[in-house]
């Protein structure tokens, strides 16, 4: 009988798991003993990490997208579009429903549906919503606004935690500052103030906070901590925090709140934090829908306690794949995810006055990042990574 692995979501995590299984189980798939199917609502893989750079012209759209089938092994059964758009998951009966009305059954399930953005709980935000977070189109619209901006206060607000890649907005603020100095006249630069609004006290773990604070201070970027965005008063051009603090802006750039995709919430898979709880080591589902050893979770859909980043998704996907390999072979052993995550940091972007500098601090359960300094080679490695992402990261080579 053919065993069935079903992967929900063909973004970063889902693609890595699919490619790893395709390689490991090539003989089983060829003999018809195993079927691996992956579902997604559309057929284009977009590397969201590159959005941060688009307003500064550092990547082109063609660098950041690939048809999903191009980066997934042909050994995998790909179902994209209406037939792949998940509307519900019933873990008890091992069934997943899709928009077209079809149902998929499975022996093993991998949930890798990531996160989505939702601005509905911040009144007024939709009336003045500028962001690089959601799509290439939005990033380009923001680019235009930045280019036309001549004077006043640019407020960059991270509305609430958790968001996908919490460090992305920090990097964006640093690059924006360098970009403005490069692109605008000296007179304009004097009249532009960048203010950063962060929903917590520290900006990431202690060493990250230390470097981010220093770079912001050196760059004259004003830091406002503990500013959880509650409302946008677009008429008066003011943002309002949950504590009632009001701050003026001339251009508002927002990193919106994130949540699990609605069908995942509606299927009762998430806990009170809104995210999917797992065994923190094996990444097996442990939540309101019961304990399910045959269900694994990787990437942004996972628990709120693990920061959401592509780097984390990568490590989790390797562990999930390895545990599926163990399960399918019946080895009775498990490998453990140790909480490996990372969050690239940028100290400067290259302009005639600055050299590009970056670093990728990483951490794991109970082991915060060590002290670090952004370096020039770090910039080149980080920039290069997005070009090789498709053939190294997504192909699960290492």
């Amino acid at each position: 009988m053919t065993e069935k692995v079903l992967i929900l979501g063909a973004g970063y995590a889902g693609t890595v798991v699919a490619n790893k299984l395709a390689r490991e189980f090539r003989r089983e798939i060829a003999r018809g003993d195993l079927n691996v199917t992956i579902l997604d609502k559309d057929d284009m893989n977009i590397n969201q990490g590159g959005f941060t750079f688009l307003p500064f012209g550092l990547y082109s759209p063609e660098d950041l997208k690939r048809p999903r089938k191009e980066v997934i092994s042909p050994r995998i059964n790909c179902v994209f579009g209406e037939n792949g758009e998940i509307t519900g998951a019933d873990l008890e009966n091992r069934k997943v429903q899709v928009k077209s009305g079809d149902t998929f059954s499975y022996d093993y399930l991998v949930i890798a549906t990531g996160s989505t953005t939702d601005i509905s709980n911040i009144p007024g935000l939709s009336e003045d919503y500028n962001t690089f977070y959601t799509s290439m189109d939005d990033a380009f619209k923001l680019k235009e606004k930045i280019e036309n901006f001549e004077q006043g206060r640019i407020a960059i607000s991270v509305a609430q935690m958790p968001v996908s890649c919490p460090g992305a907005t920090v990097k964006f603020a640093v690059m924006l500052n360098d970009y403005i100095k490069f692109m605008k006249t000296e007179e304009m630069c004097k009249n532009i103030q960048i203010s950063f609004f962060w929903p917590m006290e520290p900006i990431g773990p202690p060493e990250f906070n230390k470097v981010a604070t220093k770079v912001f201070e050196d760059d004259n970027i004003e830091i406002n901590r503990n500013f959880k965005l509650a409302e946008v008063d677009s008429k008066n051009k003011e943002i309002v925090s949950q504590n009632g603090d009001r701050e003026k802006y001339d251009l508002l750039i927002t990193t919106p709140p994130h949540k699990s995709p609605q069908p995942i919430i509606d299927s009762g898979l998430t806990d009170e934090t809104g995210w999917i709880p797992v065994d923190k080591f094996t990444l097996q589902y442990r939540g309101p829908a019961g304990n399910h050893d045959e269900v694994y979770v990787a990437g942004d859909s996972g628990p709120s306690s693990v920061i959401k980043s592509g780097i984390g998704a990568h490590y989790q996907s390797l562990v999930v794949s390895h545990n599926l390999i163990n399960d399918i072979h019946g080895h009775g052993t498990k490998v453990s995810y140790m909480g490996e995550v990372g969050c690239p940091y940028i100290g400067a972007m290259p302009t005639p006055f600055t050299k590009g500098q970056a670093y990728i601090p990483s951490w794991s359960y109970g082991a915060p990042p060590e002290s670090f300094e952004p370096t020039r080679l770090g910039w080149y490695i980080y920039r290069m990574y997005y070009y090789i992402h498709w053939d190294a990261g997504l192909k699960a080579l290492f």
């Binding site: 395709a22 390689r23 090539r26 003989r27 284009m44 550092l58 063609e62 997208k65 690939r66 048809p67 089938k69 191009e70 092994s73 042909p74 290259p350 590009g356 020039r376 080679l377 080149y380 920039r383 290069m384 070009y387 090789i388 498709w390 053939d391 190294a392 192909k395 080579l397």
Partner: protein
């Protein structure tokens, strides 16, 4: 080398020659670093991407194992030393051999797979 000239670096004993080598490496690295910019790194990344594709192809198929073994077959070694000249009749005769038939079968599937992948690849690239 006198004892005084040796330096203890994090428990590792280095003599001045080692330090010279390190300094030389660092200075040469600076040359590379100065060569790099956001345009040259794109070229390097493109080269790496192609290498990764080939690496992925190699580690993802048993064909590499088959090739590894097949290329070491003593009969193949002999053929390389003295290439047999096969005419039309010779080819027809060889086709009766079971291993030749299997080889042709595998190659035929490879041809089909390459044909299919070429069409798909053109479709993918047109959407970049």
């Amino acid at each position: 080398m006198s004892e005084e000239e040796r330096k203890d670096v994090q428990g590792m004993e280095l003599d001045p020659n080692d330090l010279d080598t390190l300094v030389d490496m660092l200075k040469t690295y600076r040359l590379l670093q100065n060569y790099m910019n956001d345009e040259t790194l794109k070229g390097i990344a493109d080269v790496e991407s192609s290498m990764f594709k080939l690496l992925n192809a190699m580690i993802s198929t048993d064909f590499v194992d088959v090739l590894e073994r097949g290329l070491q077959e003593p009969e193949f070694d002999k053929a390389l030393l003295e290439p047999p000249q096969l005419g039309m009749m010779g080819i027809i005769r060889e086709l009766k051999d079971e291993d030749v038939q299997k080889g042709v079968g595998v190659m035929m599937e490879l041809l089909k797979a390459i044909g299919k992948a070429s069409t798909e690849n053109n479709e993918f690239k047109s959407r970049h």
